[in-house]
């Protein structure tokens, strides 16, 4: 098992490297070059600009830039090798150990590997701080959505498979066809129109009620949250309903079909007949013998669908003004704030790689036939 996990992690490393290269390519592809945005921004102090330039080595050849951005090279060590490559000494950090090691060992703090993604061009804020601030709302939204999505999809799919061709099954089929064809953002707009605009049952945007609570995430907010946690959670809950519904409908539509098909396949297997022949009640046959096998492909599928949570978050957060990663991305794209863009892309891609890794490991645990 441990060997299997180690092997899978090692396999993920080249992919993670590939991601950093593609993401760095975005910086280079930016129209007008990476510094074009810096020229006349009053919010960027000279100090910051210098720090940015040096940390990113923007006056250096591209391999050195990338090396410093990643945190493999020490920005203090100058010089080139063969015209455009970093000199070997550049890989050594201030404390004499390889630069990419954690700060405590190497003494260096630069680059992605040390959590340094640079500064936002527009606000001057550290990218890592900005992403961390936006991550919490997204994790709340995505987490709740994931739980709702999976539980409903599995229940729907299993029930439809057990009662195949029943009225319920047919209704579920219609729902899944239409739900799967529905553009997420359009559903969001229509929900806002019905439940917020017309019926006034639910809030149309934001994460908290701005009249009664301070902005989410600020120090004041946490003080308010500590004062009346139930009211605060209820407030977020009310704001969550429409975005979560918007986010999960497509996924439930698709996955309930998938679970149904997998469950039907499983129900048709010989071991289900054996279980019946043993005299087990239908409940045990369906939910122990059939479901356990039917969920195996679902695990892999969940891993593959994790990216859609982030993609879906862009859509949903934009429509509902949810202050998360998705909204951050759209704003950063609009304003060419590529340090933020690169940071977001890098973090989400790495999360996707780890989600797939987790799904693989979960599959390995759940299916005894997988050899490690």
């Amino acid at each position: 098992m441990t060997k299997f996990v180690i092997r899978r992690v090692l396999q993920a490393i080249p992919v993670l490297f590939g991601i950093t290269i593609v993401v760095y390519g975005i910086l280079l592809a930016a129209p007008g070059g990476p510094t074009a945005k810096f020229a006349n921004n009053p919010r960027i102090t000279d100090d910051m600009r210098e720090k940015f330039k040096q940390a990113w080595g923007l006056d250096q050849p591209i391999p050195i830039q990338y090396c410093r951005w990643m945190g493999f090279c020490n920005p203090e060590t100058q010089g080139t090798f063969l015209g455009s490559l970093p000199v070997p000494a550049a890989f050594i950090g201030p404390k004499g150990l390889p630069n990419f090691l954690p700060e405590a060992l190497s003494g260096s703090t630069n680059g992605v590997l040390h959590g340094d993604f640079g500064y936002s061009i527009n606000s001057g804020e550290k990218v890592s701080d900005r992403i961390v601030r936006a991550a919490l709302p997204t994790f709340i939204l995505a987490g709740v959505a994931l739980v709702v999505w999976l539980s409903i999809a599995i229940v729907l799919g299993v029930y439809a498979a057990i009662h195949r061709y029943s009225l319920f099954d047919n209704a579920a089929t219609v729902f899944s066809y239409v739900g799967f064809a529905m553009p997420t953002f359009w559903l969001g707009i229509m929900l806002i129109f019905i439940f917020a605009g017309t019926l006034h049952w639910l809030p149309a945007s934001g994460m908290t009620d701005t009249r009664s609570s301070p902005p989410f995430g600020s120090d004041k907010y946490w003080a308010y949250f500590g004062g009346s946690p139930l009211a605060a959670i209820g407030d977020i809950g009310r704001h969550l309903i429409l975005p979560v519904v918007t986010l999960v409908v497509v996924n439930i539509a698709g996955d309930s079909r998938f679970v149904r098909a997998s469950m039907l396949e499983s129900l048709g297997q010989d071991y289900v007949r054996t279980a019946k022949a043993k005299g087990l009640p239908a409940r045990v046959v369906n939910f122990k013998h059939a479901l356990r096998n039917a969920l195996l492909p679902v695990i892999t599928n969940i891993g593959l669908e994790i990216p859609f949570l982030f993609t879906g978050a862009i859509v949903t957060e934009t429509i509902f003004s949810w202050p998360g990663i998705g909204k951050l991305t759209i704003d950063a794209t609009r304003e060419f704030d590529y340090p933020i863009l690169m940071g977001v892309l890098l973090v989400t891609s790495v999360l996707v790689v780890f989600a797939n890794l987790l799904a693989d490991i979960a599959y390995g645990v759940a299916d005894p036939r997988i050899k490690y």
Binding site: I19, M182, F185, W186, M190, P307, I314, R334, T348, V353
Partner: protein
Amino acid sequence: MTQNVEGAGQPAAEVIDPDPTAAEDYEVGLKSLNQWQLAWRKFRKHKLALIGLAMIAILLGVAIIGPVLLPFSFTDIPKPDELVSAGRAPAIGRPMGETGGLQRDVFTLVVNGARTSLLIGFSSMAIGVLIGTFVGAIAGFTGGIVDNLLMRFVDVMLSLPTLFVILVASKFLGNGTVATVIVIFGLFSWMGVARLVRSLFLSIREREFVEAAVAVGVRDRRIIFRHILPNAFSPIVVVASLLVAGNIISEAFVSFLGFGVDPTSPTWGNILSGGLQFITQGNWWWPLFPGLAIIVTVLAVNFVGDGLRDAFDPRSRG
């Protein structure tokens, strides 16, 4: 041997009656059909797929003829007989109502949007399928280090949330023309096809008829195009239908955010985008109808995709 390897992928049902005189009345003789006839027979029985096909035909008709009958120009400002800032609701003569502000006819917009949205959906699918098949075929046929490198690249591309990348690419490269949007969508939608084609190649390469072709010394290129690709065709078609649906929805979203086709030419996403600001004034029909158009299109494409999958599935009977 090489003669009969071509069609060996999907053996057609066939019953050979060893003694015709003994069994004249009782045996059901199945005609020998090739792969395509067999698939078409099964597809025809799939009611939803036929409905989907009809819907796609109608939509294509609307996309081709519609803009001729109901021309649209961004610079033509309509002169309504009654000024209502939120636009007027659907009624006879304006089946989908009017937009807010300029009070354009939503029906005209949706009809004109059909042309762009379908063009983008199908063309970008074609680019994606071409690239994906090419990459997947090379990886699957060559194997070894080439395969490894290409597939790691696919892994990287699949790990990046596609919509993020498309947004950024549209922002950097986009000039709002339909052609650019098609290319961008094509460039970022081939990875799934590549993975599929590779796995198909890996499994078909091991099949007896390919081994036979290799054994008699058929050239690589001929093996790829004449022996393997035709057998990989049906799953690719199914994935292609999913790609059309996905790209139509994504295009709508990217345009909705203002990163897609420039707002002077209508796509369903652009129309929707405009509708958002007037919804608080009670104008629900403006965003409703382009959205319904998307749903109907995607439904139709998915119906056809389902029909194709069943038709090509050797396990299902026609």
